[in-house]
C-alpha cells in the first residue's frame, strides 16, 4: 500500500506550482482510468471534458459572475450530463471504435468552441481570443485544492475497485457478452462510469482554468492532454487504483524537465513508451512489480 502525500509546508512558490501540476495530472489520469481502465473502454476524447470544465468555469466566473466553487461544481455536473448523452450512443461501439468516436468528439468540440463566435456572430466563447480569469496570487491555495481533489478521486477509485460497481465494470472489461447474459445492465454501468470520469475531469478542468487564469480553445482542448492521460495510466498500470497516480508522477516530471525544451522529442518518447507498454508491459509498472512479487 502506498503512502499518501501529506501537505508539506514548502516555502518556495515554484514547488507549489510543480506539485499542483503533478496532482492535477495524477487526478486526471486516475479519473480517466475509471472508465478506460476499469471498464476497458479506452476514452480517446477525455480532453473534451477537461476543456468543457475549463470553459464552463471560465464563462461562469467571468460572464455570470459566479464564485469559484459553484462554477467548478456546475462544470462537473455539466460535464457529466454531456457525457451521459454522448456515452449513451458512442458506447454502443466496440472498444476500438469507441476510441475513435470519442477522439472525433473531442476534436469536434474543440472546433466548435473555436469557431462558434465567428460563425454565429455572437460573443460567447471568445474563440481564439481566449478567456482571462481573475488572478489569485496564492500558489498554496491551488496546491491544497489539487491535492484535495486528487485525494477524492483516488479514494473514489479505491472504493469502486472494492465494491459492486467496480465489479460490474471489470466484468464488462473481461467479458461483456457474458456479463449481459448474467443480467448485468452493462449500458447503465458503462455510461455511469463514463459520466463519473467526465465529471471529475471537468472539475479538474475548472480548477485548471482558475489556476492558469488564461485559457484558449487550442490549449485546453488539445489532444495532447488525452495522450498524457493515456500514457500516464498505461505506464503506471491501467486498471489499477494507484497505477495512474504513479505513472502521472513520473511522466509529469519528465514533462517538466524535458517537455519544455525538446517538445517533439518528448512526444516521440511518449509514443515510444506507449508502444513499449503495449507490446511488452501491458499491465504497466504496477503490473511489473506485482509480477515480481508473486514470483517469490
Amino acid at each position: 500500500m502506498l503512502l499518501l502525500l501529506f501537505p508539506l509546508l514548502k516555502p518556495q512558490g515554484y514547488y507549489f506550482r510543480m506539485f499542483s501540476m503533478m496532482f492535477l495530472w495524477m487526478g486526471l489520469s486516475s479519473a480517466w482510468n475509471i472508465t478506460s481502465g476499469f471498464a476497458g473502454y479506452i476514452d480517446f476524447g477525455a480532453v473534451a471534458y477537461f476543456g468543457i470544465g475549463n470553459y464552463a468555469t471560465a464563462l461562469l466566473m467571468t460572464k455570470a459572475g459566479l464564485p469559484f466553487t459553484s462554477s467548478v461544481l456546475i462544470s462537473g455536473i455539466l460535464s457529466s450530463f454531456i457525457a451521459m448523452f454522448i456515452g449513451r450512443y458512442t458506447m454502443r461501439l466496440r472498444g476500438a471504435y469507441f476510441g475513435i468516436a470519442t477522439l472525433a468528439f473531442a476534436e469536434a468540440v474543440k472546433q466548435i468552441v473555436f469557431e462558434f463566435d465567428r460563425t454565429f456572430k455572437v460573443t460567447l466563447f471568445e474563440g481564439s481570443h481566449g478567456i482571462t480569469l481573475p488572478i489569485v496570487h496564492d500558489d498554496r491555495f491551488f496546491y491544497y485544492i489539487f491535492l484535495g481533489i486528487l485525494f477524492f478521486i483516488v479514494l473514489t477509485a479505491f472504493l469502486i475497485d472494492r465494491n459492486k460497481f467496480g465489479y460490474a465494470l471489470k466484468a464488462i472489461k473481461e467479458a461483456e457478452g457474458s456479463a449481459e447474459l448474467a443480467g448485468v445492465n452493462t449500458r447503465r454501468y458503462k455510461v455511469a462510469s463514463y459520466a463519473l470520469s467526465a465529471s471529475l475531469i471537468g472539475i479538474l478542468g475548472g480548477v485548471n482554468a482558475y489556476w492558469l487564469t488564461y485559457i484558449s480553445p487550442l490549449d485546453v482542448f488539445s489532444v495532447i492532454h488525452t495522450i498524457h492521460m493515456i500514457v500516464m495510466a498505461l505506464f503506471g498500470g491501467i486498471g489499477t487504483v494507484f497505477g495512474p497516480v504513479l505513472g502521472a508522477c513520473v511522466i509529469s516530471l519528465a514533462n517538466e524537465l524535458i517537455g519544455a525544451k525538446l517538445l517533439y522529442t518528448y512526444l516521440l518518447m511518449l509514443g515510444a513508451i506507449l508502444l513499449v507498454v503495449v507490446l511488452f508491459l501491458p499491465r504497466g509498472v504496477i503490473g511489473l512489480i506485482s509480477m515480481k512479487r508473486s514470483r517469490r
Binding site: 458512442t90 517533439y264 506507449l274
Partner: protein, 296 residues
C-alpha cells in the same frame, strides 16, 4: 433572375467541389476499411500514411522537379513499404490480441511517425505548386479545378480497381476469405500471414497515393494526419465498416456535406460536422448507409 441564377450556381459549385473531394475521401478510406475488414485493426496512424505519401511527392517535386502526378507510384511504394514493415514487426504482434492493444499500438505509432516527421521537416506548411496549379475549366457558371478533377478520376479508378482485385483476383479472394472466416481460410490452405502482409501493404499503398494526390491542392504539414484519420473513420462508418464500395458512397456523401458546410457556414466546422454525421449514423443505422457493414 440574376439572383436566382447565382444561388443555383453557388449550390452547384458546392456540390461539384464536394463530389471531387469525396472521390479522394473514398480513395484513402478504402485502405482504412480494407485493413479493418481483414485484420480487425483500427489504424490510427492511417493519416500518417497520407502524410508520407504527400511528403514523398513534395520532396520529389521540390528537389528534383518531377511532376506530382508522375511520382504517384513512388508515393504508393513508400507508404506501402512503411506499412509492410510496421505490420510485420509491430502490428503482427497485436493482431490477435484484444482490440484495445492494437489500437493503442497504432496510436503509439501515430505519435512516433508524426513527431519524427516534425523533427525532420519542421512544422512549416508546404505546398506543391506546379505550372497548372489553380488552373481549371468552366462548365457554365461552375469552375472545375484541374488538379481536383484529375485527383477525383484517379481516386475513382483506384477504388474500382481495388474492388475488382478483391472480387476477381486469386490473392484478392484470399483476402476476402480471411476477412470472412480466418479459421476456415487457414483450413483451405491460405497463408494468413501473407494475407495480412498483402492487405496492409495494399491498404497503405492506396492511402499513400491519396496523400500524393492531396498534396497537389492542399497544404501539407507533418501533423496533417489526425484529421484525415478521423475523416476516414467517419467515411467507413457511413459506408459500412469493411465494405469497400461503401467507402465510395460514404466518401462522396461526406465530401458533399462538408462542401455544403464550408460554403454556407464555415470550413472551420468541418470536423464538427463530420462527427455529428458519424453520431447520427451510429444512432440510426450502425451498419452504414448501405447496410452492409460490420456492426458491434
Amino acid at each position: 433572375m440574376e439572383g436566382e441564377k447565382a444561388v443555383v450556381a453557388l449550390l452547384l459549385q458546392a456540390l461539384v467541389t464536394g463530389l471531387l473531394m469525396g472521390g479522394v475521401y473514398a480513395a484513402y478510406s478504402s485502405g482504412f476499411s480494407l485493413i479493418f475488414g481483414v485484420m480487425n485493426i483500427v489504424n490510427i496512424f492511417h493519416g500518417e500514411l497520407i502524410m508520407i505519401g504527400a511528403f514523398t511527392t513534395y520532396w520529389l517535386f521540390t528537389l528534383y522537379h518531377v511532376d506530382p502526378f508522375l511520382t504517384l507510384p513512388v508515393s504508393i511504394l513508400s507508404a506501402s513499404l512503411l506499412g509492410y514493415v510496421i505490420q510485420r514487426f509491430l502490428i503482427n504482434r497485436v493482431v490477435e490480441a484484444p482490440p484495445m492493444m492494437s489500437y493503442l499500438c497504432t496510436f503509439g505509432i501515430h505519435l512516433i511517425l508524426a513527431n519524427l516527421a516534425l523533427l525532420a521537416w519542421s512544422a512549416d506548411f508546404r505546398t506543391v505548386t506546379t505550372s497548372y496549379s489553380g488552373e481549371g475549366f468552366s462548365v457554365g457558371p461552375i469552375t472545375v479545378p484541374l488538379a481536383r478533377l484529375a485527383t477525383f478520376g484517379i481516386a475513382i479508378v483506384t477504388t474500382f480497381a481495388i474492388y475488382w482485385f478483391l472480387e476477381k483476383n486469386r490473392h484478392g479472394k484470399a483476402i476476402r476469405a480471411a476477412s470472412q472466416d480466418k479459421e476456415m481460410a487457414r483450413l483451405v490452405g491460405i497463408d494468413i500471414r501473407k494475407v495480412y502482409a498483402l492487405t496492409f501493404a495494399l491498404g497503405a499503398g492506396i492511402t499513400g497515393m491519396a496523400g500524393g494526390l492531396i498534396s497537389t491542392y492542399f497544404v501539407i504539414y507533418p501533423q496533417m494526419g489526425l484529421p484525415y484519420t478521423i475523416t476516414a473513420f467517419c467515411v467507413v462508418v457511413l459506408g459500412g465498416m469493411g465494405y469497400i464500395p461503401g467507402a465510395l458512397v460514404g466518401g462522396l456523401l461526406l465530401g458533399i456535406i462538408q462542401s455544403l458546410t464550408a460554403t454556407y457556414l464555415t470550413s472551420g466546422l468541418s470536423v464538427a460536422i463530420t462527427f455529428i454525421l458519424l453520431f447520427i449514423i451510429l444512432i440510426l443505422k450502425p451498419q452504414g448507409i448501405m447496410g452492409r457493414g460490420a456492426v458491434e
